[in-house]
């Protein structure tokens, strides 16, 4: 049993989104949904985070930030893309300035659809990412042992 599942700290970044998904994401922290029940804390700091929540269709400006934040997060980590834009670019897909999807920039583990994504589906996405996180933790532990040998 990994304690990562009991205390996942999330980092939220809006990669050029319309802020619709961001508001729904923050709604998860409000008394109605209160994800802190599950130990989920919204840290503003990539070095403390376990789960990276990204919204929006990435463009050239936000690509650097997304890559930087992803690189700064210590392993094991997972990425959850939230909303239609983060999945495929959404209605901005054909715009000349967007990459269209977070997975064009960094590896994504869980996709949460919706425009805007509902708080319930965001929580579901985070819960699903926990299993992947636990698997990564096991893998990372094995790697550390191999380095020690």
């Amino acid at each position: 049993m990994s304690f990562l599942k009991k205390s996942p700290w999330v980092l939220h970044y809006a990669a050029t989104s319309c802020n619709g998904c961001d508001i729904e994401l923050l709604a998860c922290l409000t008394p109605l949904y209160d994800v802190e029940r599950f130990g989920i804390v919204n840290t503003g700091n990539p070095k403390h985070a376990d789960i990276f929540l990204v919204t929006g269709s990435v463009n050239e400006e936000s690509r650097k930030v997304v890559e930087n934040l992803y690189a700064q997060m210590p392993d094991p980590k997972v990425v959850v893309a939230i909303g239609a834009c983060a999945l495929s670019g959404g209605i901005f897909r054909d715009a000349y300035n967007v990459y269209g999807g977070i997975d064009q920039v960094i590896p994504v583990d869980v996709y949460v659809p919706g425009c805007a994504a509902r708080p319930e589906s965001i929580i579901d996405g985070i819960v699903r990412s926990l299993d992947i996180l636990e698997q990564r933790a096991k893998e990372r532990k094995r790697q550390r042992k191999m380095v020690a040998l």
Partner: protein, 286 residues
């Protein structure tokens, strides 16, 4: 020195962090209830720290881990002296050294956020140290000894004689526990101006050491609070100190953060009005 004093001191080293974690857990649950949320389990701080040990530790500089171990070591020493019933003044000095080590760790990591965080922490130390040093001084003037065991065996009226110092101590306790309105060195919640202040660049097991150090610190501060009521015996003194301790959560949830200059002014004003006045009046009262 009685043998049970040693057992209490060793119990602090072993059980101290557990008690501190429970205090932090109750703190988080109370905070959640005040915001009409359900809140995390009471053991959540323990889960957090055990998780941090599973994470990778990003090392910015080798020094940071050394400084953090210094922080933890002197924190344990401060508590050990306190629970041994030994010199209160020495315990305070160890506590201060431990605080300095945390600042050094934050400075060593070189991130602008942690640099601002530790500058502010040093400023906060300037704000609360005069009041903190007045606590052992007040106890000395009342009981004639700096030893914790003598203070516990002191007169039941000492809390009334030291009422001003108690009020001043409760004021700086808010700073020491890093609660609003004085949480300017480490903004605990996401999306604030300092990210996480002093702990910005600390991750994995390094951050876990900081957390464990804070658990010890909570227990030490609770111990200091207990000292004021100690002559009444643990059955009366412990509930009072717990209530006062958790009153800080209410303060935390009802106040916005102050700037460092207002913090310094406010705490020195409190120190002057309550602490110094109390000290000057002591010969008259007793």
């Amino acid at each position: 020195m009685k043998p049970y004093a040693w057992s209490l001191a060793f119990a602090f080293i072993l059980v101290g962090p557990l008690l501190g974690a429970l205090l932090a857990g109750v703190d988080r649950r109370l905070t959640a209830r005040m915001q009409s949320r359900k809140g995390p389990p009471i053991l959540q701080p323990i889960y957090d720290v055990l998780k941090l040990f599973e994470k990778d530790t990003l090392v910015v500089t080798q020094l940071q881990t050394l400084y953090l171990w210094g922080f933890l070591f002197f924190m344990v020493i401060a508590g050990f002296i306190l629970f041994l019933g030994s010199d209160l003044l020495l315990s305070l000095f160890a506590l201060t050294v431990s605080g300095i080590f945390l600042c050094l760790a934050a400075y060593a990591t070189n991130s602008p956020y942690s640099n601002i965080g530790s500058s502010r922490e040093l400023m906060l130390m300037m704000a609360y140290e005069p009041m903190l040093i007045m606590v052992p001084l007040g106890f000395f003037l009342v009981t004639g000894s700096f030893r914790v065991s003598d203070i516990i065996a002191g007169s039941p009226w000492q809390v009334l004689q030291l009422l001003g110092i108690l009020v001043g101590f409760l004021f700086v306790l808010t700073i020491k526990l890093r609660k609003s309105p004085f949480d300017l060195s480490s903004s605990h919640h996401g999306h604030q101006e300092l990210v996480q202040g002093m702990t910005t660049d600390l991750s994995g097991s390094d951050l876990a050491i900081v957390e464990i150090g804070h658990w010890y610190e909570n227990v030490i501060l609770l111990g200091w609070l207990y000292l004021f009521f100690a002559p009444w015996g643990p059955w009366i003194a412990l509930p009072i100190s717990f209530v006062l301790f958790f009153a800080e959560v209410l303060v935390d949830n009802t106040n916005a953060r102050l700037k460092w200059s207002s913090t310094l002014k406010a705490s020195w004003l409190m120190t002057g009005v309550f602490g110094v006045t109390n000290l000057l009046l002591l010969p008259v009262i007793s």
